[in-house]
């Protein structure tokens, strides 16, 4: 098909074969349509998970119980975590992958177009299962997103719904990842060697391998909970010869790479955006690839640093501390490379660049608090406190979310054919960064002072910082609506975007018109 001459006409013909209306979206196998659906889905889940976060912060605005009872509160923290990780951030980056990887490597579509459709359409049922579990008798899972037994054995059917949802989401991400690996390895345009690929493709190639390696582990762990709950097994029940800590080992063997499944594509987006607005090639491309791969490999051997207080042998604690500290080295290399890319560039500060700099600044801060937490003796003090909450929100929100926004603003002109409203975009950035820090920076102090996480009510000495944090959270939540306005405005109209609206941008995606036509690269481009 790719060899048929006159590709543009061919594409035009195809547009008429499409079913219209809702069936177009249900049956589509087009990577751009599916990418858009992923992005909209993840934004919707981001709003749902965000509302849950606001319920949490509303309850924590003052000491005492005001908004929800403690059981509901625990359901909110659990679902907020599950929805943000599996429903918002992961699908967002799969959306970017769907849209951009074929455009970046000069492929006509993803390798398995029908499977692509299926991996997306698995998501809504999982999302419905998770959200409606709030309404069933006993309420939703209330054990934290980590789902530690034996607490998970006590829950009602909401827990089973969460387990089933995790299974479905896992299958979806595994299929998505197989698709990405196959596309990248087989469908690159002639002449595009692996080491000529845009870094975003590299980061996704590595991420996809991580997903394929660890999602089945999570599925196994939650299945064991399911059988402990209903079929009389005792994997995690000491009375039957099992061990509750075994679950934590299995979970975090998934959980730590999961952190990088979220972070590595974010690195990829930023590695596209910073060179574009510095008008200078990415510094240390090869070392970026090696650093990313090292981070991915190291992520498999550090899991028990989430478990310093379970009572591991001291040799285990020392090993996991040293291994964890090692991650600082490749991560440092990446940060230095980004800064060196900006050094002596010709910088401009459009919204994507602002979000990338915000990412760089805050992600590094989260990295440093991670280094502090890697110290076993210090972590024993800070484990399960708000310090940890602050740490992973710096990595997840300021890391993954900010970079997703950087990517969204960067590629919106390519997706819609219009320029977004730069003023509103900048407003979105400044509101986000101010309120983000207001929400989460003070949580470091709360954790240091001794406030445990996952509590609906707290001692009076924590009152001031919690109030500041709650105000910040509402500000941050509302600021995200600015993005919705920008995105809708941009889809409906605005200044026409040229094929390459950013003068410093590099890559094949900028060689096709904006908006990108329904079918692109039916004849693969040739890379010198």
């Amino acid at each position: 098909m790719a060899a048929i001459p006159g590709g543009a006409d061919h594409a035009h013909d195809h547009a008429h074969d499409q079913p219209s209306g809702i069936m177009r979206w249900v049956t589509t196998t087009n990577h751009k349509d599916i990418g858009s659906m992923y992005l909209w889905f993840s934004f919707a889940m981001f709003i749902v998970g965000g509302i849950m976060a606001l319920v949490i912060r509303a309850e924590l605005f003052q000491p005492g119980l005001q908004v929800v009872d403690p059981d509901r509160f625990n359901q909110m923290t659990t679902l907020h975590g599950l929805i943000m990780v599996f429903g918002a951030i992961m699908p967002a980056f799969v959306g970017f992958a769907n849209w951009m990887i074929p455009l970046m490597i000069g492929a006509s579509d993803m390798a398995f177009a029908r499977m692509n459709n299926w991996s997306f359409w698995l998501l809504p049922p999982a999302a419905i299962l998770l959200s409606t579990s709030l309404l069933v008798p006993g309420g939703a899972a209330a054990s934290g997103w980590t789902l530690y037994p034996p607490l998970t054995v006590q829950m009602g059917m909401g827990m089973d719904m969460a387990i089933f949802a995790v299974h479905i989401l896992g299958i979806s991400s595994i299929m998505g990842s197989i698709n990405i690996v196959t596309t990248i390895l087989n469908m690159r345009a002639p002449g595009m060697t692996l080491m000529k690929m845009p870094l975003f493709c590299w980061t996704w190639l590595i991420t996809a391998y991580l997903v394929i390696a660890v999602m089945p582990v999570l599925a196994g762990a939650v299945t064991m909970i399911l059988t402990d709950r209903h079929f009389g097994t005792s994997f995690f029940n000491a009375a039957g010869g099992g061990d509750p800590v075994l679950y934590q080992h299995i979970f975090w063997f998934f959980g730590h790479p999961e952190v990088y499944i979220i972070a590595i594509p974010a690195f990829g987006v930023v590695s596209q955006v910073i060179p574009a607005f510095s008008r200078k090639p990415l510094f240390g491309y090869a070392s970026m690839v090696y650093a990313t791969s090292s981070i991915a490999i190291l992520s498999f051997i550090v899991w028990a640093h989430h478990m310093y207080t379970v009572g591991m042998p001291v040799a285990g604690q020392l090993y996991f501390m040293f291994a964890t500290m090692l991650i600082a080295i490749p991560t440092g290399v990446k940060v230095f490379n980004w800064v060196a890319t900006m050094w002596r560039g010709s910088l401009t500060f459009e919204t994507p660049m602002l979000f990338s700099i915000g990412f760089l600044f805050l992600f590094t801060l989260g990295g440093f608090s991670g280094l502090v937490l890697s110290m076993t003796a210090v972590d024993v003090q800070l484990h399960d406190t708000y310090y940890v909450v602050a740490h992973f929100h710096y990595v997840m929100v300021a890391g993954a979310l900010f970079s997703a926004y950087a990517g969204a603003y960067y590629w919106l002109p390519k997706w819609t054919g219009h320029m977004y409203d730069e003023k509103l975009g900048k407003l979105h950035f400044w509101l986000s960064i101010v309120f983000f820090n207001m929400t989460f920076f003070v949580q470091h102090f709360l954790g240091l002072a001794g406030m445990p996480r996952r509590i609906p009510d707290y001692a009076l000495q924590f009152a001031e910082f919690n109030m500041i944090s709650s105000i910040g959270a509402f500000g941050f939540g509302l600021s995200q609506l600015v993005f919705l306005v920008v995105a809708l405005k941009c889809i409906r109209g605005g200044a026409k975007a040229s094929a390459k609206p950013w003068d410093g941008a590099e890559g094949l995606e900028w060689t096709v018109p904006s908006p990108a036509p329904h079918h692109t690269f039916e004849t693969p481009p040739v890379i010198k």
């Binding site: 607490l151 001291v314 090692l326 001692a459």
Partner: protein, 365 residues
């Protein structure tokens, strides 16, 4: 090291740092954290100083033209190697602290801490005070939680029975749990240890000054996770001896005669106390529960049905639900009292009195 001077300055305003340590190990952790924070802070300022320099100077609007360099092997090797040495410098004190932290040998007193949903049980196993055993509950009144009364100064960090230990003695804490995972945590003593059902873990502390130190359960353990504080009172040796004597006497006089036959007016008020301390968190003081997770006892089929059934539920719990087994937590008399209370409270009026001997028989089965 200069750090101690600096840490003295930071300690003036405690809200921004770890709590003031009360153990030698706590000081080590405190200084380690401070050292890490300062080193990370310096690197952060240096790296982002470079970045912001670039942001202000190398901007297009200032007319800066982009350079074209995109790699430098020397620089790249340098910024891979230098962090290795910085990390080695950090790892050294960190390793020493961990080794000290995990040395639980030669304790003066050994205490077993058991996590229950949602309270702590303390058993003095070895050393002065051996044999003392009690349960420690949150003592903050419910109206304060529900904002119907002004909150006291130690809101949520106060208990009915504090753990009392002597100053300067090595206290080894064995942790375990009865139902789900809890974590026993006192920030000022620099101890946090998960309490895992079916397993025993240990940790230790040696308080260097007297005082009351407060912490909380740190591992999510269900609905009332936020309401199970840990309070440790460190006293002088003399005070400790007095406390031990008083506690042992109180325990002896509180011991019930398991063969006594009670009448309803005698047993029900005792049952009400047991109910308030053990049951009310879920089943509520008014007996209405919080359905569907926590069923009502008022009008309940089990409570109004055959006695044996209800006794079995209390002894064995209901696996797969939050209803725990109270076999090891309550005495025969306490169980008899609380069952009697539930069968004769709210709208329940069976008039039945369950005797400690009934429980004893049920246990025997």
């Amino acid at each position: 090291m200069g750090l101690s001077l600096l840490s003295g300055l930071v300690r003036a305003e405690m809200k921004f740092n770890l709590q003031e340590p009360a153990t030698e190990l706590g000081h080590k952790v405190y200084d380690l954290h401070l050292m890490m924070t300062i080193v990370c802070g310096v690197i952060f300022v240096a790296v982002f100083g470079v970045m912001f320099w670039s942001v202000f100077v190398h901007r297009k609007s200032a007319g800066h033209k982009a350079a074209t360099f995109h790699e430098s092997t020397t620089v790249e090797i340098l910024w891979t190697i230098v962090p290795v040495f910085i990390l080695l410098g950090m790892a050294w004190p960190a390793t020493k602290t961990i080794l000290a932290m995990r040395d639980t040998s030669n304790p003066d007193i050994t205490i077993k801490v058991t996590g229950y949903q949602w309270k702590w049980g303390y058993d003095y196993l070895k050393g002065p005070g051996e044999g003392i055993s009690f349960v420690s509950n949150l003592s903050t009144p419910q109206p304060q939680v529900r904002n119907e009364a002004a909150k006291g100064g130690e809101y949520l960090l106060e208990v009915d029975n504090e753990l009392v230990v002597p100053v300067g003695k090595k206290i080894r804490i064995l942790t375990t749990a009865n139902d789900v995972i809890h974590a026993w945590w006192v920030p000022a003593l620099a101890v946090k240890q998960d309490a895992i059902p079916g397993f025993i873990r240990d940790t230790w502390f040696r308080a260097e000054r007297t005082g009351t130190f407060r912490g909380q359960c740190a591992e999510l353990c269900g609905k009332e996770h936020g309401y199970m504080p840990v309070v440790v009172k460190v006293v002088s040796d003399e005070e400790y001896a007095v406390w031990v004597e008083g506690k042992q006497k109180a325990m002896a006089s509180a011991a019930d005669d398991p063969n006594k036959v009670y009448a309803l007016p005698e047993l029900a008020p005792r049952g009400e106390k047991v109910f308030a301390a053990n049951c009310a968190a879920c089943h509520q003081a008014n007996g209405k529960g919080l359905p569907p997770a926590f069923p009502p006892l008022d009008g309940s089929k089990v409570v109004l049905g055959p006695q044996d059934e209800q006794i079995k539920v209390l002894l064995n719990g209901r696996p797969g639900t939050a209803m725990a087994s109270f076999k090891g937590r309550l005495s025969d008399t306490e169980l008899a009292a609380v069952i009697t209370y539930t069968r004769n409270s709210w709208s329940n009026a069976t008039g039945e009195v369950i005797q400690p001997s009934d429980i004893k028989m049920a246990r025997g089965e």
